[in-house]
Symmetry: D2
Subunit: 266 residues, 4 copies
Amino acid sequence: MNLLVSRDVQPENSVVRVGDVAFGDGGFVVMAGPCSVENEEQLMACAEVIADCGGQLLRGGAFKPRTSPYEFQGLGEPGLKLLELARERYGLGIVTEVVTEADVDLVANYADLMQVGARNMQNFALLKALGRCGKPVLLKRGPSATLKEWLMAAEYVLANGNPDVVLCERGIRSFDSHTRNVCDITAVPAMKEMTHLPVILDPSHATGRRSLVAPLARAAVAVGADGLLVECHPNPDAALSDGAQSLDLTQFRQLMMTLPCRILKA
Amino acid sequence: MNLLVSRDVQPENSVVRVGDVAFGDGGFVVMAGPCSVENEEQLMACAEVIADCGGQLLRGGAFKPRTSPYEFQGLGEPGLKLLELARERYGLGIVTEVVTEADVDLVANYADLMQVGARNMQNFALLKALGRCGKPVLLKRGPSATLKEWLMAAEYVLANGNPDVVLCERGIRSFDSHTRNVCDITAVPAMKEMTHLPVILDPSHATGRRSLVAPLARAAVAVGADGLLVECHPNPDAALSDGAQSLDLTQFRQLMMTLPCRILKA
Amino acid sequence: MNLLVSRDVQPENSVVRVGDVAFGDGGFVVMAGPCSVENEEQLMACAEVIADCGGQLLRGGAFKPRTSPYEFQGLGEPGLKLLELARERYGLGIVTEVVTEADVDLVANYADLMQVGARNMQNFALLKALGRCGKPVLLKRGPSATLKEWLMAAEYVLANGNPDVVLCERGIRSFDSHTRNVCDITAVPAMKEMTHLPVILDPSHATGRRSLVAPLARAAVAVGADGLLVECHPNPDAALSDGAQSLDLTQFRQLMMTLPCRILKA
Amino acid sequence: MNLLVSRDVQPENSVVRVGDVAFGDGGFVVMAGPCSVENEEQLMACAEVIADCGGQLLRGGAFKPRTSPYEFQGLGEPGLKLLELARERYGLGIVTEVVTEADVDLVANYADLMQVGARNMQNFALLKALGRCGKPVLLKRGPSATLKEWLMAAEYVLANGNPDVVLCERGIRSFDSHTRNVCDITAVPAMKEMTHLPVILDPSHATGRRSLVAPLARAAVAVGADGLLVECHPNPDAALSDGAQSLDLTQFRQLMMTLPCRILKA
């Protein structure tokens, strides 16, 4: 493939920098936070623990793509302002989702890393706008996207002028409903053979079940992922979205203690 | 389900009118045309045959979502103008795809039926904008969408003020690459049990192979679909997109002759 | 492919004869009956209606492959004797499943058509034994078998000396649990392009839901299938297996009245 | 679930012993060898390296289930005799596949661990016979089996008298052909929540590609698997089956050096 994303074109790893955090330099970046930004108290509780445990970026959704129009759709710009406040207080860069090209400029005013959700992996108008947004992009794999389609989606961003794309495996659709999705963990090393871009894993969406997040996070390290995107919440049972897959803050702290990467990075 | 799309809320079939064409009244609507509008000659050749055979609406893409950024992306507004010209000449209403909320007003100026492609089934910003566009909507099922997710996507349009949605099954992702997708034909009667909205079938995308289009089109009649969306082209082997699944105009004419619906409608 | 099953080797359709019933000669064969043979009363009630409506073969399981070891496993040889009795009384040939090579001779003593279930499509020891059994074989597609794997499974039977194989599409595994399986209806014409063997459809397993059986049965006619395998039961709600997908005898009678094949065969 | 396989019935881990090798005691067992036993030289070359590197069991197929009847089907009993010879020379217990109940006694005369292949996971006659065979069983997950179906298949063995079952995840069918299967790595911890039986991983079949075997093997350790089943061959490019996914003996040695389990076991 003669693509911008291809190792044929660039053999060495791309290093994508988000502030002083680097993806793809051999380190392992942990991004964590709630699925949705709900209120100041919830977000700050998360941010404090994440910063304290060595998490590097804070995730939180202000614009939420939801299957039903009657589900909580996120706080919108007030949610972005809370993320900004958390950055100021705790020194964590912000990862947050943008769901439509019309919001790209608004979200880019607040975010350090612009997240494209799985449902939007082939929202080409959004990808083109992100190519011109001036911020790095976190591109989730679509739930039934092949590796080639995922690479091509990244190519849309690069071809429109933005070389800073981090890829995120988050599980694919399958016949077994035991977990929310099936984590295609082999996609991490398979993608890294084909592309120079960093590849991370989201063990929360890949499993949908709290108890499986930590084993899968450790597996991400084992297969050579460049980082994690993981959901946590001060009170998962009361979360407005994705409670079943969110770690509570004690569980998150335990996860961080057991990640072998922490030893490797020392 | 207490949804606007549900038969619990409205037991009788919705009839969606596109000009003088009706979906859901017991008839069978054939929409046909090229995957992409390429030029005047190509489009008029299709439109002439479609009108002559009893096809009711002309499809053609001016904004094309393509897996690769380097593939033909459609003619844009000049393509819409060609569709308008075909409508004037042949009296066929126009079905064409809109790929982003930013284009909704532009496309609505030309289209009679606004198509949402499979990749955009959960582009909620687009769905909300279509709820307010004043034109009926053709909503394709996503390649890995469950029936509930598809219904919920339609609910976004209805909840934003537009009751005129036609659903289109076009095949789902599966493990077998023998056909481009696997047509979930049972989805047609299964959806019609749950919703009052019309449901049609796209045998071209569902198979990806010309020789399988006609049998599947006849099956659509057999399961009670309200119509077809089918690709045809004066010279499929030279098509800029989807040639392998496009009927040539003679094959399209033959298909129209053998559809049992034509007898039923007489 | 230079296979015995291939149209390259034999361009014309194979006609598989089961007594005086022929598959593949352009007619449409209906095989019906209960999932499991439960008792004489149940089986004879089915057989009487099937014979009366023009069904040609009686299906019924005596050896049942069941997901759980604690579910009803079939009556065994006494079930085969009941099938024999029904054949004597109603003149219907018998289709019944054989689940292991060790039972091939026993089942062949009773059956007119030896059924291989979906789970056993690649039970190669069984396929080889059926190649030498002297009876025609009904080979169901495995729930995640590609068309090529299915053809190769048939090739095992032919290569071991038995040219009389009828293929049966019965739905494949997918991500959507709305139906028990997803019927890959396009597999019927796609297989018939590649092989000269007859291809039929099982709308009961393909849907798992009674209300969807009749539409799918009609679609089978529309795509050119050579017949149907359909489950019926005098009292589906009390069935020992597969009640939810079994037609009651009135519904079966109605299905037979509306199959367009009956007109075509006249 | 009130099943013999369930943790509700037996909360503590089962330890399955194969000679002096134990699965489920917190250790990590490596089983390796060629896909098919081809000849003495090939098998002994593998066995020597496996024993030298700390591998605990030797795998090798003598009865091979193959998609095509014209592919190499294994050496049969002469292959079993070669495995026996390798056991004598190198002290490695033998894992080999049995494909039909008719062969259970024969294979049990040679094998220390009786393998059930993915295609036979629901070959219930075989499972019942293995319940009475007196040897432990390695039960691979079917390519489209749910976790519940897999548990139920194991239950067939236990319910027929044999408590010694080791489960093996080997990848499932999916839409992406980039790898041979998609490894459902989360199945390992998810199964271990539900059952007390040991669970191992087969990274060779799960990927189908040599370069992905080592990362996936390390991930198996990370998610808490009880061991590995891995294919190696002195000359993979000349292998009669599965060459593309077989490690050569140098690669196998490297894998063994880098498995973190070796450190943990010390």
